[in-house]
Structure formats: C-alpha cells, structure tokens
C-alpha cells in the first residue's frame, strides 16, 4: 500500500472512531495507569459490557500526563465528546458504564475534563475542558502530542494524526538543508547534556566512516524521571520517525546507516510497544530498503539495557551495545568520529527525536518562536514529589519554577511548606524556594548550580531532609558507578560514609569541609559525567541548606523528621482513642495499650518503622 493510500485509510478509520456509532472507551494503559489499576479495568470491561448488553469499542491508550488522577478512563458516547474520568476504580467503572452509557447521567463530579479532538466538540455543562484544568492549562504538547490520544499499538492512529509526513517532507529536502532547519530551530539535546542537536548531526555527517550509527538513548536512568518511558510506550512512532529523519540527514550520500534504540531493562512495556511499532513500520515500508521510494535504506533494532544507570552515558551505552560491560571511555576523541564499533555515531535522547518530525512539519521558526533565548521549544518534565498534581507536563522553556510548583503542580500536598525543587536527577542540584522565580531553561538551571538533566523535577517540602536527599543520591550513584576510575568509585563510597554518619548524629563540622574538597576533586578528576556530576546534589545542598547540616551535626536534630536515628515516635494521650490499631500492626510490640485507653510506645523496642503513624486514624502518633 503506498503512503497516500495508507494515510487516507488511517484517517478514515480514526475519524470513524471519533464519530463512532457505538460508545468508545479509552483506558490509559501505560505503566503508570497499570500501576494504578488499569489492568483490572481492562480485564473486567468485556464481561461488564456484555452483562449490560452493551456494544462498545475498548481502546488502550498511553499516558496523557496527569498520572496522579490515574486510572484514567475516557468515555465517548455517540453524539457526545470524549470525557476523561479520573481515579476510576472497578466500582466507579461499573457506575459509569451503567449511568453514562445506559442512562444519561454523565457524572460531572467524577470527570476530569473533556478531551478535545477534532474540529468541533461541544462543551458540556459542569464538565470543563481537560486542558483547562490547572495542571494542564499552561502546557504545550510537542513531544507528547499524541500520548494519551492514540492507541500506541496501531500505526494507523499515528498516521491519521500526521505521522510520517515529516519523513516524507524530509526526503524531498537535501540532508544539509535538514540539518540547517534543526540548527535554526535551536533544538538542544533533551537527555541532559543540552548539546546543540544540529551541531552533533553535522559532525557525524562530516566524519569519515563506511557506516554511520544512529542511536537512540532510551536508558532514562534518572530516578524520578519517566518522560521517555511514557513516550516510548504511548507514541513509539514519534521516536522512530525522528530517528529516521536523523539517519537520512546524517548519512544520505555519505555512508550506509544502521540504527539502534537502547531501552532500559526496567521498561518492559516500552520494549514491547516499540518492538510492535518497528514491525508495523517495516510492514508498511517505513523501514528497510528504499523507504517511501526515496532510495534511502535504514534498519532499526532494539537492544536492551541490563540494569546499569551508567549505560545512559553515551560511551558506556555504546560498549553495552557491543555486548560488553558498560564502562565509559575517555571521550577526548568524540563518538561522532569514533563511537560504536569505532565508527561515527550519533546518539540522541528519545525526546529529542520525538521533537524532530514536528520541526520538519511546522518549520524551524515555529519551534524557535517558543521558549527562551538560549533554550528553544518545549521540555517534558516529570513533576513528582510533594506536589498535589504529579505526572508528566510539557511546557515551553522559560516557565518559572514557582509556576511549575504552584500553578501546574497545585501546591504542596497537605498544605505543607515547599522547601526546594531538585532537577537533573543524580547529576543535578537542589534549588531553594528563594530562587523559584528563575525561568526554567538549560542555562538558568546551570547558573544556580543545578542542571536540566533529562527533566526530572522533584518537589520537596519541609518534611524532606536535605542531608537525607544528598545521602540518597550518593548511595544511588555508589551502586551505579562502574568502578573504573578512583575519584568516582572511592569518592562516592567515602561521601556515603560521611553523610551516613551525619544522618546518625555522629558527624563533625570537618566532615562538611571534607565533603566539599572531595566533591571539587571528583568534579574535575573523574573520567566520565557520572563521577563529574556526582557531587552536585551534595555541593548544592551544602550551599543552600548548610543550616540543616549544622543542625544534624551540632544539635543532632533532623528538623524534617526523616533521619531515623534522630527522631522518635510517641503517642499523644489527648488524641489517642485506644483503637488498638497501632498495637496490631507494630512489628516489635513497642506500641501497646488497653483497648479504649491511650496507648504508649516503648522507646527501647521501637525500631521507628513508622507503621503506627501510617495506620493511626486519629493523627495521634507524633514524630519528633
């Protein structure tokens, strides 16, 4: 089937679904949705529908972003727009099927909003538009343009919404012209480095080699970040198309090209959906020989990570692709000259590739018109931690941190005070509330001692301890260090020991000075980016929250109530109603009391597991 015919067929089918004469039920079935319980919903739908004698189409879709409201189920009744319902439990689903589909009660109180699609959709009384919701209003969807709308297992859905038009257009351009467009757009790498994408493509194009490798970094190792997972699961073709355009721009007329997508081992659904997408792309001639009649050949394969954060580093990723241990290499000679198998190699992040088709479709000026002077376009962030609205958000570069936390994030859960935002994962730093008016972009974040990283944005409140946060990242990196060079391997271990002592109340002020010195040495002496950026969380917490370090050391206090050695649990006799729950759940028998009388925690037996606090319904357990 030729592309035009495929486009017509796809659009017809997509429109038919939007105007379906039977109800269509969309279920958010990405990993976040499944983690919230969407799997159960998908399992029960067929029997529930037949019990109600209803015919309906069930479409699994990816993640539309507001994961805190998952499971998300959209119901599109014939003649009515697609309405997204939030936090749908099996009971609520049954209610919705009965009331919405059989009767006419659309349950506005259970709805999150109307998912707008197509040229004309009518609003409904009492149900706002989804994208008018506080969390979604300031967003601009470029990389996430299809996520949550399409069925990721159907290439036709992708094509119906404009998929592969960018590729077709690119084939009519000269490779140098494509690189020029990317340069004009100002696209910078979205994986963390922020390196100019056009510059990278250009140097790989100019490098000498009989084969050029075009790689996609899907290793997203930053804990707290899941933008790439969502994109790979919910819209795999956006990545494939972007990588294809890159392959053409870099290799056409110069050398043959081979492509790999390296996906983290911990993302099985992403691997599954990508593999399926690749199969379908091959079937329809978007991969293989003479793609779309252009004369360009390109094959793309998936390879999987083995559970190593360091394999997100480009040279370690390439060693892993070669079937070796993921030890990075000193990169005085760039991968663009000698990378995978010593050949010129281009490596870009998932999100970077996902933006490319839109830049080709809409032109570079459109992309460059969004964002700030040094950082063009949009960025996907995973907004997590202590905010009310957690999930994936895509905003133009330049949104302030305050807007991210207060407007989009909806403020801090439980009405607590915000303390800081951590960006850039283990390579980044914390940014205190006093600096929240900075505009989020590559250069601003670097200026305050953090970095953009892959987009993880972790909001911390007064209940988070900055020393504990520093220790957390150091522990993480110590486990993930490849161990090749001394400053990183040994430096992280010693930093961990020092920070542990501080959280146990056994620290000294010289420790802070030593951490600082060790951090400086690691930043300049380590072999790769992991070791070089490892001190960032430690150095930035010392810089902005020195008081907390001093409190732990000099007063042996953890004001956030986190460091177990420095806190104790007790029961307020005024509030305790003697319900006995704490005693039932206490693993050591420390919480005891007679029924209906105030209970007491025996400090000698208490191991500070915090379960009593979890189960108490009276707020009677105090943490000091």
């Amino acid at each position: 089937m030729d592309f035009k015919a495929l486009q017509e067929k796809s659009r017809r089918e997509y429109q038919a679904r939007l105007n379906s004469e039977v109800p269509v039920i969309y279920v958010g079935a990405a990993t976040c949705g499944l983690a919230a319980g969407a799997g159960e919903l998908l399992k029960m739908l067929p029997s529930e529908l037949s019990a109600l004698k209803l015919k309906a189409e069930v479409v699994p879709v990816g993640c539309i972003g507001p994961c805190c409201f998952e499971p998300l189920v959209d119901i599109q009744k014939p003649g009515k727009p697609r309405i997204c319902y939030k936090q749908v439990t099996p009971r609520i689903l049954k209610t919705l099927l009965q009331d919405c589909l059989v009767n006419d009660n659309l349950h506005p109180e259970l709805a999150l909003g109307i998912v707008g699609e197509g040229p004309a959709f009518r609003g409904i009384d009492g149900i706002p538009l989804l994208f008018d919701h506080q969390m979604l209003k300031g967003q601009m969807r470029v990389a996430l343009r299809n996520c949550g709308y399409i069925d990721p297992t159907r290439i036709e859905d992708y094509i119906a919404r404009g998929g592969y038009i960018g590729l077709e257009k690119a084939f009519r351009m000269k490779p140098e012209e494509i690189i020029d467009w990317i340069k004009k757009s100002g696209l910078r790498g979205r994986g963390g480095g922020g390196f100019g994408t056009a510059r990278k493509w250009d140097s790989v194009r100019k490098a000498e080699g009989s084969v050029k490798y075009i790689l996609c970094n899907g290793d997203e190792g930053d804990p707290g970040a899941f933008m790439d997972r969502s994109t790979m699961e919910s819209d795999p073709h956006s990545v494939i198309e972007g990588q294809l355009i890159a392959a053409y721009a870099i290799s056409s007329g110069k050398a043959r090209a081979e492509g790999y997508i390296y996906v983290r081992n911990e993302y099985p659904l992403a691997v599954k959906n990508l593999a399926l997408a690749l199969e379908q792309a091959r079937q329809y001639g978007f991969l293989g020989k003479n793609i779309l009649g252009s004369g360009f050949d390109f094959e793309l394969r998936i390879n999987r990570g083995g559970g190593a954060f360091v394999c997100g580093e480009s040279s370690a990723l390439m060693r892993s692709l070669e079937g070796k241990a993921g030890e990075p290499r000193q990169k005085y000679i760039h991968a663009s000259d000698k990378g995978l198998w010593e050949q010129p190699t281009n490596l870009n992040n998932v999100e970077t590739y996902a933006c490319v088709p839109e830049i080709i479709n809409r032109g570079p000026e459109w992309f460059a018109g969004i964002g700030t002077k040094g950082s063009k376009g949009t960025k996907v962030f995973s907004l997590v931690g202590k905010v009310n609205y957690t999930g994936l958000v895509e905003v133009p570069m330049g949104v302030t941190l305050r807007d991210m936390v207060v407007k989009i994030g909806g403020g801090i859960r439980g009405g607590k005070k915000v303390k800081a935002v951590q960006t850039g994962g283990p390579s980044g730093g914390v940014i205190p509330e006093s600096l929240f008016d900075l505009q989020v972009d590559f250069d601003e974040l670097a200026r305050v001692g953090s970095m953009m990283g892959s987009g993880g944005m972790i909001v911390m409140s007064e209940e988070d301890c900055m020393v504990d946060v520093a220790l957390y990242y150091v522990k993480f990196l110590e486990q993930e260090s490849c161990g090749k060079c001394v400053p990183c391997r040994e430096g992280l271990r010693r930093m961990k020991n020092i920070l542990s002592r501080i959280t146990e109340g056994k620290g000294a002020m010289e420790d802070v000075a030593l951490l600082y010195e060790l951090g400086q040495a690691m930043q300049i002496g380590s072999l790769c980016g992991l070791g070089q950026s490892a001190p960032n969380p430690v150095l930035s917490t010392i810089k902005y929250f020195r008081k907390e370090y001093e409190q732990h050391i000099l007063e042996k206090k953890c004001c956030a109530g986190v460091c177990t050695a420095l806190i104790s649990y007790s029961i307020d006799p005024q509030t305790c109603n003697g319900c006995h729950l704490c005693e039932i759940h206490c693993p050591t028998g420390a919480a005891k009391g007679e029924k209906k009388k105030p209970h007491v925690i025996n400090q000698e037996l208490c191991i500070k597991c915090g379960i009593c606090c979890d189960v108490c319904r009276q707020d009677a357990v105090l943490k000091k």
Binding site: T31, P268, G307
Partner: protein, 212 residues
Amino acid sequence: MGQEISAKENVDLKFVDEVIGRWYSDPAYLIPMMQDIQARYTYLPRPALLLLQEKLNLPLARVSEVATFYRALSLKPKGKHLVHVCLGTACHLRGGPRIADAFKRELEVEVDETTKDGEFTLQTVNCVGACALAPVVIIDGNVTGRMDASKVKQMLAKLSPAAAKAAQAAKAGKPETKAEPARPVKAKKASSPARASKLLKKSKAKIASRKK
C-alpha cells in the same frame, strides 16, 4: 563433564542455542541473550554461560564480566516470587525505604536475598517510571502504586504457599484450610486518592481557618 553439570542444573542446551540464534548469533547481543536465558531459569546457569562462550567465540572472562556487571543479571537462582521495591527519588521521598524495611522484616531477608523456603526474592530497583504513583512495589511483574508499609504483611500473605493452597482448594470446591486471617486495614496516609483529597480539603480548611 559439561553434560554432568547440565544434568545437575537441568539446563536445556537446545533452548540456549535457540536464544543465541534468536539474537542473530551476534556477540553484540550478549546481554539480551543472557536476559532471555535468565527469564526462563531466574538466573544464569553455568552450562548456559559456557555454551554462550563457545558458540559466540568469546573469552570466558568477558562472559563473566558481563554476567556480573549488570544488575539485571544474576548468577544465583531466585525465588518463586520476585519482589521489587522501587527506591527511585519520588518513591524514596514517599516512604520507599520504610516499605523495603517492612519486606525485609516480614521475609527475614536482606536485599538481593531469597527466603530459605525459596518462595520470595527481595530486590530493590531504581525507578520504573511510575513516579507519580509513588511509592511503588512490583511483584512478579505486577506494578502496584500508592503502596503502604502497613499493607506489606497482607500482600505477602496473599502470595504465600498457604494462600495458594487455599485458593486451589476453593477452586476444587473443597473446604478451605484456615489461612492466617489478614485484617483488612484502611491505612490513613493516601493509600486511596479519595482519602488524599479529603485530607487535603481538611488541612486546607484548617489552614484557612487559622489564617482568619
């Protein structure tokens, strides 16, 4: 000698051969090959590794290096049930370590260890990308978000051999053997989002009234 080891460790060398072929017999795919072998045996049996070395013409030192470098690969057999507690940043901030501690206590193992009866292996994982639903626990590939340390006992009870027997007995219509009664508890902290929004409203109201 190879044959004896295979018999002892019960490795189907034809399967290993098939895996090698599945990945183009290309040593660059050593890691996916090992992952596929481990998916079947829960670990990397030595006879399988020796066959990989032979068929791919690799030094054994390289096979050994790759098998021990990557956290997803294991030279030790795992238990019947795999418990992964996510300790990514979001999960850490929302009580992940306490949940890991609860599993350690209940199962009486350390991380990366298997219970003596071979039923459970406890591991931690650094972020599966469900951060908005932290804290997250993955048991046998099933991801559960909004986890709570107080739910751990219940969860394990459902998977225990006693529970499995009871489930089988129920299916066969026989009278159940009494399993440990797991008290259903409604934990206070946001284990249900509805609860969370109620709490939020309550505390917002508290703050508002304080401001007045």
